[in-house]
């Protein structure tokens, strides 16, 4: 690897300047995105209101086919959230410092996709206004939710995950907030940063505890992330339905989650790089590494996918086998094969170095991957309902209504809005860590040069 992840001679002051610029004036594209996002949300809100007032029926599910796109998209967003953890926590523990310029927005992505996922739980409920029945709080009624229900585990896991990753995001941001504080002219933003930075001054004591804390939370986050998606998987694996009751579901879901997450990172990477002029920091070498990572996970996912089919195919459960065959041949076949194509064939492009740094290609590919992953979620939910245990209740021609589609569609707007607003208000590249990165790398190279000059012992003094 000859080309460097990041220029080492880049001045620290410049780092501050560049990143802080992102808080000021992004390119036009930024406002375009915001506008589109708002429009999408508008549609979704309309649809949801209609559904809320009329009843779930308008989403065209039915008595055998009780779940639809909402749950599928819910899983999709939960999955999306995992990449943040992957980049910030796992790679942090592995001291892969190329993550440093990009982990911040990855974490933001985690947080916001979790929030989006949360919405779908609500949207999906028949009696949204009774939602609080599902919360474990001491009530006058004396009754508690049913802790045996995987849905409740979901709620718990997601709450934990959301709050933890928000905290993680925030803690990691404190030194940068201090920078913002120091460089802001007076105004509401200054106040905001002053409060949030908690009077950080980068003293040795603060740094010392900061390091440990960050490390510890990172350690917690990894098992948490894994548990979250395996619990989501158990919504299905714990049930009895053919095509759901599969042991390999939890790992399969987790892999899928990381997969879609990485794809999403590439997409956002490219967008941010352009919108906020981050070419200096979100460099092609880093993009290349991400692409390779994505490719690796894609292969893992493909493998687990095949494992799942195999275990069904060679298993004794005829019903599940029927469902599998139905997926491949029934009226969901186009989507199912679409998922296979997007999920397992498309990523092969990432194997070619030439494409690993080709931004347009990567952009298209990363979006295709996520389409594939979304389809995968839908293909998990729908066919089992359409072709379950009870033939009389089979329902092959159930097609989601416009209401469902528009709410799903709008959720992307919602996510984009939250995310873009965040990037505008908070530094989406971690300044202090980029500095560390630059610092350490320059130290390295210094050492190397000295060594090469054979003056190592002199340089020691």
């Amino acid at each position: 690897m000859t080309e460097k992840d990041i220029r080492e001679d880049i001045a620290w002051a410049k780092i501050n300047k560049d990143v802080l610029k992102s808080l000021e004036n992004p390119r036009k594209m930024y406002w375009v995105i915001i506008f589109i996002a708002l429009a999408m949300i508008g549609v979704a809100v309309g649809a949801e209101l209609y559904q809320y007032l009329t009843g779930m029926g308008v989403s065209y599910k039915n008595n055998s086919h009780v779940w639809g796109l909402y749950i599928a998209t819910f899983i999709f967003w939960i999955g999306m959230s995992h990449s943040g953890t992957l980049l910030s926590a796992i790679l942090h523990l592995m001291h892969a410092d190329w993550r440093k310029p990009i982990y911040r927005f990855a974490e933001a992505m985690t947080t916001f996709s979790l929030m989006t996922a949360g919405l779908f739980v609500m949207v999906h409920l028949g009696r949204l206004w009774m939602f609080y029945y599902a919360l474990p709080y001491p009530s006058e009624r004396w009754i508690w939710p049913n802790f045996q229900s995987p849905l409740l585990w979901d709620a718990m896991a997601i709450f934990t995950y959301l709050s933890s990753s928000v905290i993680f995001l925030y803690i990691g941001m404190i030194p940068d907030l201090a920078i913002c504080r120091d460089n802001m002219k007076n105004g509401w933003r200054k106040k905001l940063y002053t409060t949030l930075s908690l009077g950080w001054e980068g003293t040795d004591r603060q740094w010392r505890n900061f390091r440990i804390t960050y490390l510890t939370v990172a350690c917690f986050l990894i098992p948490l992330a894994v548990s979250v998606h395996s619990i989501v998987a158990s919504d299905f694996a714990m049930s009895q339905q053919p095509g759901w009751h599969i042991t390999s579901f939890p790992p399969y879901f987790v892999a899928g989650a990381l997969y879609s997450g990485c794809a999403a990172i590439i997409t956002l990477f490219i967008i941010l790089r352009y919108v906020f002029r981050f070419e200096e920091y979100m460099t092609l070498p880093i993009l290349k590494k991400t692409a390779r990572l994505t490719f690796a996970i894609a292969m893992v996912w493909t493998y687990l996918n095949l494992i799942e089919f195999a275990s069904v195919w060679y298993g004794h459960d005829q019903a599940s086998k029927d469902v599998l065959i139905y997926k491949a041949t029934g009226n969901y076949a186009p989507f199912w094969w679409g998922m296979m194509f997007c999920g397992s064939i498309v990523p092969l492009t990432l194997a070619f170095t030439r494409f690993q740094t080709n931004i347009p290609v990567l952009f298209v590919v990363s979006i295709l991957l996520n389409v594939g992953m979304w389809l995968e979620r839908w293909m998990i939910v729908a066919p089992t309902f359409a072709h379950g245990y009870y033939p009389w209740a089979w329902d092959h021609d159930q097609w989601p209504s416009f209401v469902q589609w528009s709410i799903v569609f709008g959720s992307f707007g919602w996510f984009a809005l939250l995310f873009m607003v965040f990037c505008k208000i908070f530094p989406s590249v971690s300044m202090y860590e980029v500095k560390e990165m630059v610092y350490h790398r320059s130290q390295e190279t210094k050492k190397k040069e000295l060594a090469s000059k054979g003056l190592a012992n002199k340089g020691a003094h």
């Binding site: 001491p138 009530s139 006058e140 009624r141 004396w142």
Partner: protein, 209 residues
């Protein structure tokens, strides 16, 4: 170091406190009185005169003399007009009082013809549970009045409050689910026929339809 220890102990305590708090708040206040609104009825029926204690000028009539269905049906029922008339025909002393006049208007029809003869009195429902709740008067009367032979006014009073001191009945208990449960979860002495627990039923379908 010491500060850290002190703090951790403090937070440990805090969490424990939260736990115990959660435990205790779950217990509803069983005897809480929660006075419902005044309901004005077509005739301001004086429960105190009929059921009240003798020393307070009441006639100590058994609740179930008028609310006769309580022992046989899930609803206590409003006494039929016939019943009121049955007694009051014989009581000349109060015959001319406004309330009794009104009563007889429903029986014989009003002079101006606005009320036809034998029109049931349009009483307003005071203790009106949600529609999806099934409260069975019979069961409670059977258990506490007939099997455990508690005084009738006490038994009715559990839920209806001290009606014998009111004129028009007024809700004086919250009648909320937690309130019902606060009694159901008590250990009542077993009655003759029950082969179940000495508590009230805890199964949803006993009270929810």
């Amino acid at each position: 170091m010491h500060r850290f220890l002190r703090l951790s102990v403090f937070f440990a305590g805090l969490l424990m406190a939260m736990a115990s708090q959660a435990n205790t708040t779950a217990q509803p206040l069983t005897t809480a009185d929660d006075l419902g609104p005044q309901v004005d009825q077509p005739i301001e029926f004086p429960h105190d005169r009929h059921a009240g204690d003798a020393d307070k000028g009441g006639m100590q009539i058994n609740c179930m003399y008028c609310h006769t269905y309580a022992r046989r049906s899930i609803v206590a029922g409003i006494p039929p007009l016939q019943k009121c008339i049955g007694c009051h025909q014989g009581i000349e002393s109060v015959r001319e009082t406004p309330r009794i006049k009104k009563l007889f208007e429903y029986w014989e029809g009003s002079a101006d013809g606005t009320i036809a003869a034998k029109t049931p009195i349009p009483w307003k429902k005071v203790h009106d549970l949600p529609d999806f709740v099934r409260f069975n008067h019979e069961r409670h009367i059977q258990r506490f009045y007939f099997q455990q032979e508690k005084p009738v006014q006490e038994v009715c009073g559990y839920c209806h409050g001290d009606v014998k001191t009111m004129t028009v009945a007024r809700r004086s208990k919250s009648l909320s689910m937690g309130w019902c449960v606060s009694c159901h979860e008590k250990d009542h002495p077993l009655d003759a026929t029950s082969t179940m627990t000495s508590q009230g039923p805890n199964d949803c379908w006993q009270c929810h339809k």
